[in-house]
């Protein structure tokens, strides 16, 4: 099972002292956080993509390419890549390039984006969110697999004899996750392609996650034989101190003023209603192990630890706790009673091996014929 962090990349004033990092500070902090994630033994760093303030990560492959050059092992991903407003041709090119530079340590999570004005800024209409996600991804899927593409659709200029370059590393496209909070069409899309499904699982009640993952598994079974072979990822949001009360006391002002839920429900209400966990490392371990009860054995767990104006120093302390105390226990505990046939999340190496095995099987079938 893979463990990591995902970041929204918000520039938010620290409510305890009123200071706001500059965009430059925040961008560098995101990089520092990613490097620290590798250092403490996490597997994945995923960045959001946004095209409006107060968010900085508009250019994920630039940031991930830089992080790739400074890490050895860390898997670089997105949360999410806007499949609606980006040109799928550019996504195909950018992430194939990143794949080469990062030696295959790349995957992506597709998302639609929920900010109305971003769509028209990129020539689109939010009311076409689902049709855009479906059409653009079907083109992206093709561009990474077919050398020469003839294509036409509703939302983009047609392509004749187009080849996306560079070709994916070793001829194997990056693994793709599809993220959605409550659109059944996206769970269906992930199942149809045999891709992963990622439930945001922060800011929302667990029932959404349970329903969406259930639907994805059921449809994955329909298309590919077994719901247990589906690839599921979950988000999560935590704040920890060794002592539970210290965690609550320190996090409360950040919670009370946070974008998304600030000035609304109490920390206690929100902790009860959503997967947010504020407390000791042991409480985070217990809560996280409980996720399996409603989604089944899953493949990737990402935590949100750096939003709402939390200072970099505090975020790095969170990473120490995750790396030293939480994730080692989670790895051990999640491995217990895990059926042997539950797959791991695909990596570049496993996809290359699977492609080679498929090619060998096809060749031997030809010989037999």
């Amino acid at each position: 099972m893979q463990f990591g962090i995902f970041t929204v990349g918000d520039v938010t004033p620290d409510p305890t002292n009123g200071t706001t990092p500059s965009e430059g500070d925040r961008i560098k902090a995101m990089v520092t956080i990613a490097l620290k994630a590798e250092e403490v033994g996490l597997d994945v760093f995923a960045t959001g993509e946004h095209h409006n303030p107060p968010f900085v990560p508009s250019s994920p492959t630039t940031m991930l390419g830089y992080i790739a050059a400074r890490t050895e092992r860390l898997l670089l991903s997105t949360a999410t890549t806007l499949i609606t407003t980006n040109d799928p041709v550019k996504i195909a090119e950018d992430y194939a390039m990143l794949q080469h530079l990062a030696g295959g340590r790349v995957d992506l999570m597709m998302g639609r984006g929920n900010t109305g004005p971003v769509y028209p800024w990129f020539g689109q209409d939010i009311r076409n969110g689902i049709p855009l996600a479906i059409e653009n991804y079907s083109l992206l899927h093709k561009l990474w697999r077919d050398e020469v593409v003839d294509w036409k659709g509703r939302f983009r200029t047609p392509l004749q004899s187009f080849t996306s370059t560079p070709r994916p590393l070793d001829g194997v496209p990056p693994f793709v996750w599809h993220g959605s909070i409550r659109s059944p069409e996206i769970a269906e899309q992930a199942a149809y392609y045999g891709d992963g499904f990622f439930a945001n699982h922060i800011f929302w009640p667990k029932e959404h996650t349970q329903r969406m993952v259930g639907l994805y598994r059921e449809r994955f079974g329909h298309y590919h034989g077994s719901p247990d072979q589906a690839i599921v990822g979950l988000g999560g949001q935590v704040f920890m101190r060794r002592n539970s009360q210290d965690a609550v006391r320190e996090f409360r002002p950040y919670f009370d003023n946070a974008p998304v839920y600030g000035h609304g429900p109490s920390l206690e209400d929100f902790t009860r209603e959503t997967p947010l966990t504020v407390g000791s490392p042991q409480e985070v371990i217990d809560r996280t192990l409980g996720f399996r009860d409603y989604v089944g054995d899953y493949q990737r767990q990402l935590f949100l630890i750096d939003h709402a104006g939390l200072p970099l120093k505090v975020v790095l302390e969170q990473l120490d706790l995750l790396g030293e105390e939480v994730v080692p226990v989670l790895r051990k505990e999640f491995a217990k009673n895990r059926p042997a046939d539950v797959p791991d999340a695909p990596t570049h190496e496993s996809l290359v091996a699977a492609a080679a095995a498929a090619a060998a099987a096809a060749a031997s079938a030809e010989v037999v014929a």
Partner: protein, 204 residues
């Protein structure tokens, strides 16, 4: 006997509130009319004041807390609705509107609604037809022709009480007739797939 559920939403803020008094009268009258039509009424009363914090929380977070989700579902699942708001500054109260804002898209479509309002004087009575009726036109609901407004003076005096009672009965009879002639409400599952992937790919 068949059964139909009437959700009664009262947006009054005071306790006791005149909106709640009116809502209770309209609910009781609707119950009687349904019974007369051979339908067993089930009345579910929702005082918005009890859910004021949950309403704001839902507006901010985008999802209803688990207890408030049941309130929303009660209204969405009801076969008919009695909706009563106090008139504040020429319209329904902000809390009342916020609650309506949180009902799932389409959940009031085709639903029979009896509108009621309360205010200090009868001069506010047009809020019914200038604010509440258009609101529920937008939600594609079936607002019955008679709306019931109760001013402070309607709660006393033989003639006034009789007039309020008569209007309430007429409105309730209209609501009961609309509810009784319809099939029970079915709630759509928001997580259900409605289009095959082939159709989605084909742009349908």
């Amino acid at each position: 006997m068949t059964q139909r559920t009437i959700a009664v939403v009262s947006g009054g803020l005071r306790q006791p509130s005149s909106s709640r008094l009116l809502a209770d009268r309209l609910a009781a009258a609707t119950g009687e009319e349904l019974t007369r039509l051979g339908v067993t009424p089930k009345i579910e009363v929702i005082e918005l004041r009890d859910h004021a914090h949950e309403i704001v929380d839902n507006l901010l977070t985008g999802f209803p807390g688990s207890a408030f989700a049941k309130v929303v579902e009660t209204v969405a699942a009801a076969d008919g609705l009695v909706a009563v708001s106090p008139v504040f500054t020429a319209s329904y109260s902000g809390l009342f509107k916020s609650f309506v804002d949180l009902l799932p898209d389409g959940s009031l479509a085709g639903k029979p609604i009896l509108i009621g309002a309360t205010g200090g004087t009868a001069r506010h009575s047009l809020a019914l037809d200038h604010a509440m009726r258009p609101l529920f036109a937008y939600t594609r609901s079936i607002v019955v022709p008679t709306g019931v407004f109760a001013a402070a003076e309607d709660w006393a005096g033989e003639e006034a009480v009789e007039r309020l009672d008569k209007r309430s009965r007429r409105a309730a009879a209209e609501l009961a007739a609309e509810v009784a002639r319809r099939e029970p409400t079915e709630i759509e599952d928001p997580f259900a797939l409605r289009t095959s992937f082939e159709d989605l790919l084909a742009g349908e």
